[in-house]
């Protein structure tokens, strides 16, 4: 529908512009703060125009936070989570949509319900499992009396132990299970016409072959969308890495590291707050997620335009 309503257009554009300012202002302030010296950043009133110390601040913040290895860690975890989530979501949805078996709907709804239980809600049990990934099995042995039985028969005390704390596995695995991704994939797979599945069967392609040759190429844009969302999600993880990683020097992630730069009583010890460094570090930490969004956005658009049926 085409309407000519100049006044309404103007009003909508004003609202749009206002929203843009609301969103951009903090980022602008962060950028300005990152370009000032310690004295300038703490002077009142707040400086609104950039200074000259951006490069120096970036360098200082980088060294201070040991960002080199931390960026690598964050990247490993984020990529690990993205790959894990996509793989898991894809094969789970594949099984749910294309195979008929008992309890299919039940399984789907159970996965769906976990949407309501994000990591933060179940962080204590998740931590307990991460501390010993085999503890559920140990509990099973204990409850059923199997452990006692094995002990009585063979004299071996069964004590299962698999510690995930302070490891990439521990960082990645609990973040991988994903209801969102499974749901997204399921909805996409449901749009695949039955005839296509049957054509592949007639062509002699087995289920995995069909998944690999047909479904995955067709779901490229889905993968791009999911990857973007999940990369940003994983990159921004704070609480979980904070808990599970005590060996910060080896496994620290940038976002956790960044929080250390934010001046408070503990970090400055009552000294002048170093906001310029915190903001400089923030700018650097922001770069990868933004880069991914910009990069992947082209995929979305192509996926939306090129809808060949």
């Amino acid at each position: 529908m085409i309407e000519r309503t100049p006044l309404l257009n103007l009003a909508t554009h004003l609202i749009l512009g206002f929203g843009l300012i609301v969103i951009l202002a903090p980022i602008w302030l962060a950028f300005v703060a990152a370009t000032l010296t310690l004295q300038e950043v703490n002077a009142a009133p707040v400086e609104l125009w950039p200074g000259t110390h951006l490069w120096a601040n970036l360098k200082e913040a980088w060294v201070l936070s040991d960002f080199g290895p931390k960026f690598v860690n964050s990247l490993i975890v984020a990529v690990g989570v993205v790959v894990g989530k996509i793989t898991l979501a894809c094969i789970t949805a594949f099984s749910l949509v294309f195979f008929a078996y008992r309890g299919r709907a039940l399984i789907f709804w159970m996965i769906f319900i976990t949407l309501m239980l994000p990591l933060e809600v179940r962080i204590v049990p998740t931590y307990a499992v991460a501390a010993n990934a085999l503890s559920p099995f140990q509990a099973l042995l204990d409850v059923t009396g199997m452990g006692w039985l094995i002990n009585a028969v063979s004299g071996v005390q069964v004590s299962l132990q698999w510690n995930l704390l302070n490891s990439y596995t521990g960082l990645i695995l609990p973040l991988v299970a994903t209801a969102t991704g499974t749901f997204l994939y399921r909805q996409f797979f449901l749009t695949i016409p039955d005839e296509l599945v049957e054509a592949a069967r007639m062509d002699g392609a087995g289920p995995l072959r069909f998944l690999w040759d047909v479904l995955i190429p067709l779901s490229k844009t889905n993968i791009a969308a999911l990857a973007t969302i999940m990369f940003v999600y994983a990159w921004n993880q704070y609480l979980w890495p904070l808990l599970v990683i005590t060996d910060r020097a080896t496994y620290g992630m940038v976002v956790v590291q960044l929080s250390d730069l934010v001046p408070d009583q503990m970090t400055t010890g009552g000294g002048t707050p170093t906001w310029h460094l915190a903001m400089a570090a923030t700018l650097m930490v922001m770069v990868p997620p933004i880069a991914i969004v910009i990069l992947m956005q082209r995929w979305f658009v192509r996926g939306l335009i090129n809808t060949d049926k």
Binding site: P193, E195, L196, E198, A199, A200, R201, M202, D203, G204, A205, R209, D213, V214, P217, L218, D308, K309
Partner: protein, 381 residues
């Protein structure tokens, strides 16, 4: 040799029976068309042959081997789907060659075969395109090329032409028949379009509510429909049906308005039996009321160019007549209808089954100028 034997095949979903007791022998190299309205089970039968659905009763054998428990790929069938079912992300070439790729045919051989197949259906210049860039007819060709390249024993077509426009449909029909003749595989073609059925088939199978109503050559089906259902389904415009009762003499049928239709002793009719008389519009001719075998009221006509369809009524029952004569008639005018005795079909009223002809089959069938016919001609215009 790929004859298909379908023996007492049935299909049930849970407690719903879709199909039962289907028996059908398809000879090697034959083109069989399964014809029926939607929901009659024709597609299901095709999918049972293909192996896309599990058979719940009876057995299907292809080339003498029972295939009930074989995967589709092991049955040697290729299928062309209604919506083409091309892989949208693959080029035409990849689409055609996918089955070979799955089968592990080396690339060089594969490309050669793709090229040859594409040439046979006129697709060579489109090999690098995606299905989305092709027209409906071209997509249909890709779907057919994809089936041909596997050199299957059996071709299965699931209403492949129903998404094409009328002109293209006729063209693709010829194409399919040409390919069938060239390849020589057994073909089973499912459609609800009687024109496709009549023109393509060596033999037609008419299905109704999950059972086979009649099997025969298109000519047999047209000339000697086994039931009212078949008679109404095949032929365009549809056969005229007039309900009546067999007279006490057993030699004529009394229609609702008291007119008598002479059926002679051609049919095994019981006096008092409720019957339906069938007359094909193409076999009727309009004459004066005095000369006709039946009296009817003219309503209007449709001009087809080559012929006209005259719409008449016999006691409120619409009757169509196809004739290439340009008659000047006014609405409501009383006319007579004439027809050769061989054009007369009589069906049992309640069951709809065709009444058996009393005399030797060969004589009255096909030849219009039988002895009774001659005397009739004297009464024509």
């Amino acid at each position: 040799m790929a004859e298909i034997s379908i023996r007492q095949v049935g299909k049930t979903y849970g407690k719903t029976t879709i199909m039962q007791g289907v028996d059908l022998e398809i000879h090697d190299g034959e083109f069989v068309v399964i014809l029926g309205p939607s929901g009659c089970g024709k597609s299901t039968l095709l999918r049972l042959i293909a192996g896309l659905e599990e058979i719940t009763a009876g057995e299907i054998a292809i080339a003498g081997e029972v295939v009930n428990n074989l995967e589709p790929r092991e049955r040697g069938c290729a299928m062309v789907f209604q919506n083409y079912a091309l892989y949208p992300h693959m080029t035409v070439s990849d689409n055609i060659g996918y089955a070979l790729k799955v089968a592990g045919v080396p690339k060089a051989e594969r490309m050669a075969r793709i090229e040859a197949t594409a040439r046979s259906v006129g697709l060579v210049e489109f090999l690098d395109r995606k299905p989305g860039q092709l027209s409906g007819g071209q997509r249909q060709r890709v779907a057919m090329a994809r089936a041909i390249i596997r050199e299957p024993k059996v071709f299965l077509f699931d209403e492949p032409l129903s998404n094409l426009d009328a002109k293209l449909r006729v063209q693709m029909r010829h194409e399919i028949r040409r390919i069938h003749n060239a390849v020589g595989a057994t073909s089973v073609f499912v459609t609800h379009d009687q024109n496709e059925g009549m023109t393509l088939a060596d033999r037609l199978v008419i299905m109704n509510k999950g059972t086979i109503e009649q099997i025969g050559t298109p000519e047999e089906i047209y000339e000697h429909p086994a039931s009212l259902y078949v008679a109404g389904f095949v032929g365009s415009p549809a056969m005229n049906i007039l309900p009546g009762t067999v007279a006490s003499s057993g030699l004529s049928v009394l229609l609702g308005d008291g007119q008598a239709v002479d059926i002679r002793s051609s049919f095994k009719a019981r006096p008092g039996q409720l019957v339906q008389i069938g007359l094909r519009p193409e076999k009727l001719s309009i004459t004066t009321k005095a000369h006709g075998l039946l009296a009817a009221k003219f309503q209007f006509f449709e001009e087809l160019g080559s012929a006209r369809i005259y719409h008449l009524e016999i006691e409120d029952i619409p009757v169509g007549v196809v004739s290439d004569l340009k008659l000047a008639l006014t609405a409501g005018e009383e006319v007579g209808l004439a027809f050769p005795p061989s054009a007369l079909h009589v069906f049992d009223g309640p069951s709809g089954r065709s009444l058996a002809r009393a005399e030797a089959a060969g004589e009255s069938r096909g030849t219009d100028a039988s002895t009774t016919g001659l005397s009739m001609h004297g009464r024509l215009l």
